[in-house]
Structures are given as C-alpha cells and as structure tokens.
C-alpha cells in the first residue's frame, strides 16, 4: 500500500531548517563579533 505524503509537511520542515539555520548563524556571527570587539576595547583601556 502506498503511503500518502503531504507535500506541505516537507516544505514547512525544509523552510524551518533553512531559515532557522540562517538566523542562528547570522546571530552567532554578530554576537561573537560584538564580544570580540568589546574584548579588544577592554584590552586597550587596561
């Protein structure tokens, strides 16, 4: 018997993975940059 597949389930899962990974990577890049630049500025002030 052939199982019924709902195409939208796969589309939604793909968009959740793609958008989630892109947002997480962008946020991580920005936060690590801010942290590193703050660390450099603190080192200069010391």
């Amino acid at each position: 018997m052939r199982e019924a597949l709902d195409a939208w389930t796969f589309v939604a899962a793909a968009y959740a993975v793609g958008i989630g990974a892109t947002l997480a990577m962008t946020l991580w890049s920005l936060l690590s940059m801010q942290r590193a630049e703050k660390r450099r500025d603190d080192a200069r002030k010391r």
């Binding site: 793909a14 958008i19 892109t22 890049s29 940059m33 942290r35 590193a36 660390r39 603190d42 080192a43």
Partner: protein, 242 residues
C-alpha cells in the same frame, strides 16, 4: 586585493559594508522566499515540493562558494602571504559548512516525496556529503594550527587548496555519472526553468549570498579583534615582566 592587506583599511570598509550586506540580504532573501512560498505556482510534476528549491539551490551554491572562498584565500596566503587571507579562510568555514548542511537536509526533505527515499549514494549527494566532512576536517586542522603556533602553520591553506578538487566533482557529478539527481537547470546564459520559478530563485540566491558575505565580514572582524586583544594583552604581560 593587496590594498586590503592593511587590517585598519579592511576594518574601515567592513564597518559599513557588513550591515549593508546583512540588511539587504535579509530583505532580498526573505522577500524571495515569501514570493516563492506564497505567490509562486506549484510545479506540474513535483507539485508543492518544488518550493524547496528556493532554499536548496542557494544553500548548495553557498556551500560550494564557501569552499571556493577558502581555496582562493589559501592561494593568497601561500603565494603572497596576504595577512588577511588566513582570517578570510577561517571566516568562510562555518557559514560554508552551515549552508552545506542546509543543502543536504533540504535535499533529503525534497527527495522523500520526489524520489521516495531520504538518501541515495549517488555522485551528487555523496560528493556534497564529502564537502561537509572536508569543512569539519578543515575547521579541526585550523583550530589545531591556531592553538599550536598561532596560525603560522600552512597546513590548513594546503588542505584548502587540495579540497577544492571536490568542487568540480560536485558540479559535474550529474553529467559524469548516472544520478538520481537532476542535471543542472541553470547554466551560464541558459535556463531550463520557467520564469515563474527562475526569478524568485535568482533573487533568493542573491539575498543569501549577501547574507553569507555579511556573516563572513562579521566573522573576520571577530577573528581580527580577538587577535588584536591577544597581542595587546601579550605585550602588556611582557612589559610587566621586564
């Protein structure tokens, strides 16, 4: 290219270019995804699953572009000793690996309804998986090199150049070997896709490329700032010792 060898000049440019790339990237990429998801038509044979193309193809392109960035930066590092080349290569690695993983996962989610299977060991899928493992290996080697001698080791640059052999293999795999994966739909100056699918796809590729560039610039700024902080702290420690 040598004009950007000065980190201060690079930082001056990156400070305005990074937010511009990220902002424009978000607007264009998510606009294109919205267009494809809500307003684009379903495909005659694949139905609604064709909408995965707007994520899958940009992710595949950027997974390969990330490694091409590593290879180009490695070449500059080995030949011209460009001071920012090693930093650029390290900055490309994580975004490239993330997009390669997104390509593999979205491809698998597309393969299940389209082919009836999550995975097949054919040339295109296997060479893309090899690319992900190459990223993992390159990141481990780069970290080990950074920890052992502050990144002066040339091994990651050589690995970056040798690993570039996989890029044409990925591209031509669907031509060289029998493959479950379809042949290229878009080539230079020619497209087998209808405009209703092609335009949102091209926009998504542009948007995600801008986001990728923004992330690489942010990573470069982070690596540079960490190196500058380390250097300053080391100088202070040496000054205190004498």
């Amino acid at each position: 290219m040598h004009g950007f060898a000065n980190p201060a000049r690079f930082l001056r440019i990156a400070r305005w270019l990074m937010p511009l790339c990220m902002g424009a990237g978000f607007v264009v990429a998510f606009g294109a995804l919205g267009w494809g998801l809500f307003f684009g038509p379903a495909e005659r044979l694949q139905g609604e699953t064709v909408r995965i193309v707007y994520l899958h193809v940009p992710a595949a392109w950027l997974g390969m572009a990330g490694w091409m960035g590593i290879a180009a930066a490695s070449f500059m590092e080995l030949v011209w000793r460009h001071p920012l080349a090693g930093i650029a290569a390290r900055a490309c690695a994580v975004p490239g690996a993330v997009f390669t993983a997104v390509c593999l996962i979205t491809g698998s989610l597309w393969g299940r309804p389209a082919w009836g299977t999550w995975w097949v060991w054919d040339g295109r899928l296997t060479s893309m998986l090899v690319l992900l493992f190459l990223y993992f290996g390159w990141m481990a080697l780069s970290q080990a090199s950074e920890a052992s001698d502050g990144g002066r080791n040339r091994a990651p640059a050589i690995f970056g150049l040798v690993g570039a052999v996989n890029i044409p293999i990925i591209h031509y795999s669907v031509i060289w070997w029998n493959s479950q994966h379809q042949a290229p739909s878009i080539t230079v100056g020619k497209s087998a896709m209808a405009g209703a699918f092609l335009w949102p796809l091209l926009l998504a590729m542009l948007g995600f490329t801008l986001l990728f560039a923004g992330c690489v610039l942010a990573r470069m700024r982070a690596i540079l700032a960490n190196q500058q902080a380390e250097a300053r702290l080391r100088r202070k420690a040496l000054g205190a010792a004498y």
